[in-house]
Amino acid sequence: MTDQEIIEQINSSLAEEFEFALNDMTPETTLFEDMGLDSLDVVDLVIVLESAFGMKIREEEAIRKIRTLGDIHTFVINKKRQMESA
């Protein structure tokens, strides 16, 4: 998958789960303020990403620092690359 394909997959998965318009999703979009997610949604966000990319990320320390959609893109892209090189 290219980085762009990963970003598109992330955005479409989150748009479907959280009923968010794709057009409104930019790397600067914040999860809590802009998307209106809360602590329950963050649990489901992790499950959605794990399911979409076939990876386990729940215990990753870096998850706790995610604030924007761009943070998710970077996190998943890095994780995918780590998995591919492992």
Partner: protein, 409 residues
């Protein structure tokens, strides 16, 4: 006897005839059936019944995702019906958030559909890793009550009675008692259930579900009829807004009817089979609670689900108290049996019968079973003065309940 008088100032329903009391009453008066064939039932090994009364006219997307994410269908039904009841009563946001308004809404179980989805996934690899954070809110026993309170911003008491087919009768009765004791001024109360094959299957294995009319669904159930062959399960929600008379008068609310009596008792003789003397005992307790004599009752809205044992026991109990002069009918022929919702769907129809001075007959009652001929059945839509009615519900588990309504003023 209630210390404060309790009246009904709002109602909302989700039924097989859509959302709203008007569409349900139009269908009941027109003698329509909400029962349809359900093809998925034919795919289940051992399931003989293939019909159900499914709710229609509901758009879950009306509820914002923030609230909807913790709801299964039963909570969606209960929330939309509660919104309609609150709107009919003209409640303000301030009243909903006052702490003086509570919720008393029950269901037979938490969401069977969500439980099925969870255990199907869990069974694949014994893993919780795909479990969503909102699962619990679908399957907890107070799912409907809590979801309604969250969506409407209710800050008062929460009660979630569960007594299968008696659930919503209990929910209304206990809500009335709470207002009667002065603990709350308003209560949103009733029941909701969502259809799942487990419900039909429960009755089917007990030989209590209708199986002979799978090709002509609108011909079943047939309460009191000699050719009846059992229950048809349904779904939906009926919600009433109860209020102290004092509060309703103070704010100039339109009063739909008054709740004057409620009773419930347990039948330890059998967890499954109804007993005429226990049913009669429950109705007598309700009459005492209302301080009403049997001859003052104008109509009996029977539980009558079209099982042989239930219909005959209820007729015997009604006959023992009211003789054969008080009109009796069941609305299960139109609505099927919506389980925890059935009591309040039928109470809503009773309120309209009081207001309109009209009695609705039992749909599909063509040839009265000789063992059910000891009461006076309503024949055709009948116009007459209706001032006081008693409404029965009886549940698996040996739980009987009766409510007495009076026209207001």
């Amino acid at each position: 006897m209630l210390l404060k008088r309790v009246v009904i100032t709002g109602m909302g329903v989700v039924s097989p005839f859509g959302r709203g009391i008007e569409s349900m009453m139009d269908a009941l008066l027109a003698g329509k059936s909400g029962v349809v064939q359900v093809p998925e039932l034919a795919e289940i090994t051992g399931m003989r019944t293939r019909v159900a009364a499914l709710a229609t006219g509901v758009d879950p997307m009306e509820i914002p995702r923030k609230f909807r994410r913790s709801m299964s269908n039963m909570s969606v039904f209960a929330t939309l019906a509660s919104q309609d009841a609150a709107a009919m009563a003209g409640l303000t946001g301030e009243q909903l958030h006052s702490g003086r308004l509570g919720v008393s809404i029950g269901s037979t179980t938490g969401s069977p559909q969500t439980m099925q989805e969870f255990f199907r996934d869990f069974g694949i690899d014994n893993s919780l890793e795909r479990m969503k954070s909102t699962l619990f809110f679908h399957i907890m026993n107070h799912s409907c009550a809590s979801n309604v309170a969250q969506a409407l911003g209710v800050t008062g008491r929460i009660l979630a009675p569960a007594a299968a087919c008696s659930t919503s009768c209990h929910a209304v009765g206990y809500a009335a008692e709470m207002i009667g004791m002065g603990k709350q001024d308003f209560m949103l109360c009733g029941g909701a259930d969502e259809f799942h094959p487990l419900t039909s299957g429960t009755f089917d294995i007990m030989n209590a579900a209708s199986t002979a009319f799978n090709e002509s669904p609108t011909s079943t159930p047939r309460p009191f009829d000699r050719d009846r062959d059992g229950i048809v399960c349904g779904e939906g929600s009926g919600i009433l807004l109860l209020e102290s008379l004092e509060s309703a008068e103070q704010r100039g609310a339109a009063i739909l009817a008054e709740i004057v009596g409620f009773a419930t008792n347990s039948d330890p003789g059998s967890i499954a089979n109804p007993d005429a003397s226990c049913i009669a005992g429950c109705m007598r307790l309700a009459l005492e609670d209302a301080q009403v004599k049997p001859e003052q009752i104008d109509y009996v809205n029977a539980h009558a689900t079209a099982t042989e044992q239930g219909d005959i026991a209820e007729c015997e109990a009604i006959s023992n108290i009211f003789g054969n002069t008080v009109p009796v009918s069941s609305l299960k022929g139109h609505l099927g049996h919506a389980m925890a919702a059935s009591g309040t769907l039928e109470l809503a129809a009773c309120i309209e019968m009081l207001r309109q001075g009209i009695l609705i007959p039992t749909l599909n009652l063509e040839h009265i079973d000789p063992l059910c001929s000891n009461v006076q059945h309503v024949h055709g839509v009948t116009r007459r003065t209706v001032a006081t009615v008693i409404k029965n519900n009886f549940a698996l588990g040996g739980v009987n309940s009766s409510i007495i309504l009076r026209r207001y003023p």
